[in-house]
């Protein structure tokens, strides 16, 4: 069984894993980071989305062993130390971008990555970007709104007021 060393939410982690262990299993089952979810077995739902070296990766598609040396950020690692929600998280709450919450960690991680590569996405761009994330609850309406509002906040403009 290979031994791996990686950084997860800023902490160094050393583990021995089976060759077939997926990154999501390492996170959920070995490290207890259960905010990353598993919603499918065909890498389509995005509930498992985390950042690997700053970019979004579906952690159900990556072997834990392949994360050797990587910096991983999960949903547990994005709010500030005192628990204050970051801009994207706060926008989801403000605009009711979540219901059951199961897709939410993946959505937040995905939108965060979108806003890194595109600071002013259009509604269409947000919708296209989310093609790897399925939400069954919200109809996406308020997720899109939250994404656009977070983009505005991050650009330093006034946040869009909730209706």
């Amino acid at each position: 069984m290979p031994g791996i060393k990686l950084t997860v939410n800023g902490k160094t982690v050393e583990k021995t894993v089976e060759g077939r262990t997926l990154l999501v299993q390492l996170l959920r089952e070995e490290l207890g980071l259960t905010g990353t979810h598993v919603g499918c077995d065909t890498s389509q739902c995005g509930a498992c989305l985390v950042h690997v070296n700053g970019e979004s990766v579906k952690s159900c598609t990556m072997l834990a062993a392949a994360a050797e040396g990587a910096e991983i950020t999960t949903i547990e690692g994005v709010s500030s130390r005192d628990g204050t929600l970051n801009v994207v998280q706060a926008a989801f709450q403000e605009h009711h971008g979540l219901q059951c919450g199961f897709c939410t960690p993946g959505m937040v991680m995905s939108i965060t990555d979108l806003l890194r590569v595109n600071a002013s996405p259009s509604e269409t761009e947000v919708r296209e970007w989310l093609e790897g994330n399925i939400c069954r609850c919200t109809g996406y309406h308020n997720i899109v709104k939250a994404a656009l509002s977070a983009a505005e906040t991050l650009r330093g403009a006034q946040p869009v007021a909730a209706e």
Binding site: E18, R20, R28, E29, L33, T34, G35, T36, H37, V38, G39, C40, D41, T42, Q44, C45, A47, T74, I75, E76, S79, G83, L85, Q89, F92, Q93, E94, H96, L98, Q99, C100, G101, F102, C103, T104, P105, V108, E123, T124, V126, R127, E128, L130, E131, N133, I134, C135, R136, C137, T138, G139, Y140, H141, N142, I143, V144, K145, A162, E163
Partner: protein
């Protein structure tokens, strides 16, 4: 001005923080000390005889603790059905046993044959491959029409595959037949309501635990109604009395109906935990979910609508084949009957209505309620037929609807239910305005200039929610009461714990219910906690389905709060040395009318628990009340939906350009949450109409068993929605005047979309296309119609 707290405020959801920070607690997030894992070996055949199972190799595999087969379940019952329908001959429905693990036969792909419990998930899965099943394939029954045409039977006790053959209302049959024979015009439509898979994003999971020291069982499960599971599994399957069985449904990642039912896997882990004396955990993967979660819809119907020369509806007749799948799921029999036949008046004063529903066994996964449950099927057949009638009669679809709207309330329909309130013209006006119906022709011309076909479609809906008066549903075959329970506990310092039998799995009850209590007591929302989902903490409950949580569960809370206030007034009267009748309670203050004497909420609460100066001879200390609320009637949310689409005649692709909803949910507690519920419902309804469809091949193989084959709506498939719930007529018979909003979107949107597409295709003379309106189907319909259109 919008309120900033209490009823009517868009309070931000308190549950969001844990979900946004990854600290929600879903069943699969939990692990119990010493836990083992189960993997189910499921049938890959739709129908077969089990001639033998050899588990020796699997039992010898690394990490395997035990392999279970039906032999280990000989002493337990089958998975029960909670509703009995009586057929048109007065006979009870056929109710074949649904074993926890297959007994001798498998009846659908996914039917569990054996279960391997091992130290790790991977070991259980690996060992399952070593089980040798001698399975002899038998002919499968898949197609509904073929199933009722004789031949193969799914169960020997139902040789014609009929679970029941149901007439409703039986006494109207002749009058309806005659009205249809003599009518000026009869619009006829045959349609299919496509089979769907609910697919909440959290797959089902369950953990069984057993504590031998005090003979206590605990089941952690992804359920919408833990008390119902305790009742069904405890009493009917495993024979565990309530006081020895705790069922907990913690955070649940969506349900949409599919997590109402008691499933075999729950009974399995509960029993296995006792047999092995250690916790046993099961987590479904998505592929397994497709073949084991109850599916939805799957009706084949013929509808006839009789009209006079002015388009007044005279009679409606429908005949429906409804798929039950291979076994009866918990509520399956009532979906195509009492939740469907009773809604066939829709929003219209059609005086004569008759339906015949035959429920059919097939070698497919059990079918049960999915968001809307019977009401989407009723709405779809009515609203598609009304639109077709409008075209045939040359009457504008909105005008034809207006001509037939029910306008006087209460209204006794010819199909048993009595609508308490509504204003269908008001929602229609709002939707026509909100969707800019007036500007449609110009937009259509603009689309045409780009070679695109633009269409506008309307649909109305009515639903019966707030399920339901117990005496009524009892008479209709329900094996349980459908009230709700709530305990309100006021703590000594004035903070409040509310224990509700409703379950929240995305609906935001922790926020909404706190708003109701805060409003009634004039205390801050954050001094109130809402507790749900645990049979050991909540006294009783019937759970969440049929848009009932606020209307029924909320009413139970209101009842308890009323009792709290009544008792607190007595305490205040004693403390203030005034007559009880002189005490008023407003904004958290108890006052003596006409004086400046008053006490704050907290002072009275403290006195209740520190009864030094207290009417102890006449009043017990403490401030806690439990209520059961049994509704007087269903509630009847209604609304009007408008959909605008563009069809590309070259590819058949349908693009939803806009969707406008005008709903009447009665009073609204949290507008933000209500709008969110509508958005989600619309997405599921548009998903059904545009892309979703569960497909079996002729041998009963499930073709759509993953998100690769089953098209879930994505963000790019949907527009932003325009949602309005200002046309409000309060419910007349519950204390909050609320009607329920969870299912509306899924009920009203499919016909609106299909009507819009057929409007876009009106030049081709295409009368109907069955859902889902995929590009290939739309293109094929256009292609088949081209010669006709060209020849004109």
């Amino acid at each position: 001005m919008a309120k900033d707290f209490g009823i009517g405020a868009s309070s931000k959801r308190r549950e969001d923080k844990r979900f946004l920070t990854g600290t929600g607690r879903y069943t699969d997030d939990m692990n119990k000390p010493g836990q083992a894992y189960v993997h189910f070996l499921r049938s890959d055949m739709a129908s077969g005889r089990i001639n033998g199972i050899d588990i020796a190799a699997a039992e010898a595999a690394p990490g395997v603790i035990k392999v279970f087969t039906s032999r280990d379940f000989e002493a337990v019952g089958g998975v029960p059905c909670g509703w009995q329908v009586t057929d048109r001959h007065g006979e009870p429905m056929k109710e074949p046993k649904h074993p926890v693990l297959a007994e001798g036969f498998v009846r659908h792909v996914g039917d569990p044959i054996a279960a391997v419990v091992a130290e790790t998930r991977a070991q259980a899965r690996d060992a399952a491959e070593l089980i040798e099943v001698d399975l002899e394939e038998l002919p499968a029954v898949v197609n509904l029409r073929a199933a009722v045409s004789g031949g193969t039977a799914v169960h020997p006790e139902a040789p014609d595959n009929l679970c029941y053959d149901w007439d409703f209302p039986a006494e109207s049959k002749d009058a309806v037949d005659e009205a249809i024979r003599n009518a000026h015009h009869v619009t006829v439509l045959e349609l299919v309501n496509n089979r769907l898979v609910a697919n909440p994003m959290e797959p089902r999971a369950a953990i069984g635990e057993y504590d031998a020291a005090d003979d206590q069982h605990t089941l952690w499960t992804t359920s919408q109604n833990p008390h119902v599971i305790r009742l069904l599994m405890g009493a009917f399957v495993l024979g565990i009395p309530e006081h020895k069985l705790r069922v907990v449904a913690p955070d649940v990642g969506g349900g949409f109906g599919s997590k109402i039912y008691h499933y075999a896997e729950e009974a399995f882990v509960t029993l296995a935990a006792k047999v092995l004396n250690r916790p046993v955990k099961w987590t479904s993967d998505r592929g397994e979910a497709f073949m084991s979660d109850a599916h939805g819809r799957d009706h084949v119907c013929k509808v006839e609508l009789a009209m006079d020369a002015e388009g007044h509806f005279l009679a409606l007749r429908s005949t429906t084949l409804a798929n039950m799948g291979a076994y009866l799921s918990t509520f399956a029999p009532c979906i195509p009957t009492w939740l469907h036949g009773t809604l066939l008046a829709g929003n219209y004063k059609t005086p004569l209505i008759f339906t015949n529903v035959r429920a059919v066994f097939t070698n497919t996964v059990p079918v049960d309620a999915y968001r809307g449950a019977g009401r989407p099927e009723a709405t779809y057949l009515i609203e598609r037929t009304v639109d077709k009638a409008a075209r045939e009669m040359g009457i504008d679809p909105a005008e034809l609807r207006r001509r037939n709207f029910i306008t006087q309330f209460p209204y006794q329909t010819p199909v048993a239910v009595e609508y308490d309130s509504g204003d269908y013209n008001a929602t229609l006006d709002k939707v026509l305005e909100g969707s800019d119906r007036a500007g449609f022709e110009a937009r259509k011309a603009e689309s045409a200039s780009r070679g695109k076909l633009r269409g506008y479609g309307l649909a109305h809906y009515i639903e019966a929610c707030g399920i339901a008066p117990s005496s009524l549903v009892g008479a209709l075959g329900a094996r349980a009461g459908l009230y709700e329970a709530a305990t309100v506990r006021v703590n000594p310092t004035g903070s409040i714990s509310v224990f509700t039998g409703s379950h929240s799995h995305g609906q935001g009850h922790e926020t909404t219910f706190a708003q109701v209590v805060a409003d009634m007591l004039g205390v801050p929302e954050d001094s109130i906690d809402i507790v749900h989902g645990d049979t050991n903490r909540v006294p009783f409950g019937m759970g969440t389905y049929g848009s009932r949580s606020l209307a029924v569960g909320g009413s139970a809370i209101v009842k308890s709060v009323d009792k709290i206030v009544a008792k607190a007034k007595k305490i205040a009267a004693h403390l203030l040395e005034a007559a009880e009748s002189d005490i008023t309670f407003e904004n958290g203050q108890f006052s003596v009318q006409g004086t400046d004497k008053s006490l704050a909420w907290g002072e009275v609460c403290l006195a209740a628990y520190v009864p030094h100066k207290y009417p102890i001879e006449t009043l017990e200390p403490g401030l806690e009340e439990t209520s059961f609320y049994d509704p007087a009637n269903f509630t009847y949310p209604s609304g009007a939906y408008a959909c605008e689409v563009e069809v590309d005649p070259e590819t058949g692709k349908v693009e939803v350009l806009s969707f406008t909803a005008a709903d009447d949910f009665g009073n609204v507690v949290n507008p933000m949450i209500v709008e969110g519920q509508v958005h989600g419902g619309l997405a599921q309804g548009l998903g059904q109409a545009l892309m979703e469809g569960c497909v079996y091949d002729e041998n009963g193989q499930l073709i759509t068993a993953s998100f690769m084959d089953y098209a879930m709506p994505l963000a790019k498939d949907l527009p932003s929605f325009t949602v309005d719930n200002s046309a409000c007529t309060p419910c007349t018979h519950n204390p909050l005047g609320v009607k329920g909003c969870g299912e509306a979107g899924a009920i009203g949107s499919p016909p609106a979309l299909v009507n819009a597409v057929l409007d876009a295709l009106s030049d081709y003379g295409i009368a109907h296309i069955d859902m889902p309106l995929t590009p290939s189907k739309v293109w094929a319909a256009i292609d088949a119609a081209r010669p006709a259109a060209a020849a004109e």
